[in-house]
């Protein structure tokens, strides 16, 4: 059993484009589908059992529909994520990923 974080860094290292001055008019780009940190309780195989969104009660994972993995950008700040689409006990379908570099869990739209 292991608990994921309900961490402080909601962006998983990818911040929206604010705070740099480059002169002139600057339309802001705000990323969509930013990952949000969640707390996940897993079984001995690392599969999610319960998911708790920030400020919400924990929900049991009824089923894992799909899973895939992304390993990218090894030349920069390596990204290694294990995604799962899970069905919660209230019927909601949520996409979670386990950040293998940090060990944290995130929920993500899109």
């Amino acid at each position: 059993m292991s608990d994921g974080n309900d961490g402080n860094d909601s962006s998983g290292g990818h911040r929206p484009s604010e705070g740099r001055s480059s002169g002139g008019y600057r339309p802001l780009l705000r990323p969509l589908a930013q990952p949000k940190p969640v707390t996940v309780r897993t079984d001995e195989h690392g599969e999610p059992l319960y998911v708790r969104m920030p400020g919400k009660t924990a929900r049991r994972v009824d089923a894992v529909r799909e899973r895939w993995r992304i390993d990218d950008e090894w030349w920069r700040e390596s990204i290694s994520r294990e995604y799962r689409t899970v069905v919660l006990d209230d019927g909601r379908v949520v996409t979670l990923y386990h950040d293998l570099a940090e060990g944290s869990w995130y929920a993500q739209m899109g």
Partner: protein
């Protein structure tokens, strides 16, 4: 104040710039950015209708301006062998400017990187940062603009100041030069200003030659009475003419301007055409090019910062389209067509990149502005991933009374007969609504979804919200 005409030939610029040394920077991209705005036209005669200008010229010249800026930025490199790479991306990168130490090791501007490294194994190679250099040049011009309103930049690190009538304000010519250098001390670190060479003479040619003959801290001041004598001792290589003309003169045994002016004008015209006539006029000191006040264009600047550095051409093209739309919709552009545009980027890990184009026809259409920039980008792509994309509308056509031709359609949109909206257009009702929201909230709370990197495997990189402010 000494007159060291014989030194003019041996001024070590260590860069592919200037009239004599600039053989490899005469073509293509390097020339555009190495010389900067105005340098190519510094010695082109003014149009007859132009009456403003200053006969008395002061030339301030900072050789290897860009490299010195890099050394100021990274002082730890000062004691090492450093070379600045030529701008642009190529499999055969060449050296643009070299430090004294690298020069001593045999590294020369124009050499291939592989040659340079084999000559000096401890050589530190630096990527150029044109945005930084341009900003420093702007700072220089602003500081000197407080001294005289007649200011004419001639490439990065070289500027002519019109000094007519400043004697009563600042005193004798040496005091005027001192005053100009002190203006630079206010904005630049001492090592940078200390390397500045100053030359004062009637006309830009005399001032430039005097600056090349000057040493750091020892300006050369030439009066109208001594100009001809001063120029007579200078080598023909100081002439701002085609290097081939200089080569031919040297092959004919004509080494100095004094030797050149012994020839009658018809003989020089017969050999070199109009260039021969100009060369003679310069060498005798008869031709005085006044310093022309520089018209400082106010570009329209827009920029787009990516959440993550972007290297995909398609994404950059999409971002460029958005920026062109933004720039065209700025109130300052209304009623004017665009004739010159510049695109740049802040790169991942530092450095910058720029391309510039002059449009064939004045236009205010997005595609006609973006297409030549895309073509330039294909030839000289950003060498690294882009953090921020920048766009500047630099030159404009004459104001047009028919603003409706260039503006977004006022009578288009869903509420006007069901016409389809063109790309980038917003219906008037939406624009009004945004205006009201901005009045109430101070900013537009509306956003538009744009593709950033639609094929990215990382979901948060695919799309983004762009502030919507038509």
């Amino acid at each position: 104040m000494g007159m060291a005409a014989s030194r003019a030939q041996s001024v070590p610029t260590h860069q592919g710039r200037g009239w004599v040394q600039d053989k490899d920077a005469q073509n293509g991209w390097t020339q555009d950015w190495a010389s900067g705005p105005g340098s190519a036209t510094a010695f082109v005669p003014a149009a007859p209708r132009v009456t403003t200008g200053s006969r008395q010229a002061l030339c301030l010249w900072l050789p290897t301006f860009e490299l010195r800026l890099e050394l100021v930025r990274s002082p730890e490199l000062d004691s090492t062998s450093v070379a600045l790479l030529s701008p642009g991306e190529s499999t055969r990168r060449t050296v643009w400017q070299v430090s004294e130490r690298a020069h001593d090791a045999g590294v020369r501007p124009g050499q291939l990187v592989s040659q340079a490294v084999s000559l000096c194994t401890s050589l530190t190679l630096l990527e150029p940062d044109p945005a930084h250099y341009d900003a420093a040049m702007d700072t220089m011009l602003e500081a000197l603009g407080e001294l005289t309103p007649v200011l004419e930049p001639a490439g990065r690190g070289r500027v002519f100041l019109g000094m007519d009538g400043l004697g009563r304000l600042f005193g004798s010519p040496p005091r005027q030069v001192d005053r100009a250098l002190r203006s630079l001390f206010r904005v630049f670190p001492a090592p940078l200003v200390a390397a500045t060479r100053a030359g004062m003479a009637p006309g830009k040619f005399g001032a430039w030659v005097a600056a090349t003959a000057a040493r750091s801290g020892e300006p050369v001041i030439v009066t109208a009475e001594t100009l001809a004598r001063f120029l007579g001792r200078c080598p023909v290589s100081v002439l701002p003419v085609d290097p081939l003309v200089v080569q031919r003169l040297e092959r004919l045994g004509i080494r100095s301007l004094g030797e050149l002016r012994r020839f009658p004008e018809p003989s020089l015209v017969a050999q070199f055409g109009a260039k021969g006539k100009s060369a003679l006029a310069w060498s005798t000191g008869r031709r005085i090019d006044p310093v022309r006040p520089w018209h400082r264009p106010r570009p329209i600047r827009v920029s787009l910062e990516f959440p993550n550095p972007v290297g995909l051409t398609g994404t950059l093209h999409g971002a460029l389209d958005r920026l062109v739309e933004r720039a065209l919709s700025r109130p300052a552009r209304r009623g004017r067509s665009v004739t010159g545009v510049r695109m740049g980027a802040h790169l991942e890990g530092g450095g910058s990149w720029f391309v510039e184009t002059v449009l064939r026809e004045p236009t205010a259409q997005r595609e006609r502005i973006a297409a030549p920039l895309r073509a330039k980008m294909a030839i000289v792509p950003p060498p690294k991933a882009v953090e921020t994309l920048l766009l500047e509308l630099t030159h404009f056509g004459a104001p047009s009374a028919q603003t409706g031709l260039f503006d977004r359609k006022d009578e288009s949109g869903r509420d006007v007969g069901g016409y389809e909206l063109g790309q980038g257009e917003a219906p008037p009702s939406l624009r009004d609504a945004v205006k009201e929201l901005k009045l109430r909230l101070g900013h537009s709370p509306l956003y538009r979804v744009v593709e950033v990197d639609p094929w990215s495997r990382i979901p948060e990189r695919r799309h983004a919200l762009l502030s919507f402010d038509p």
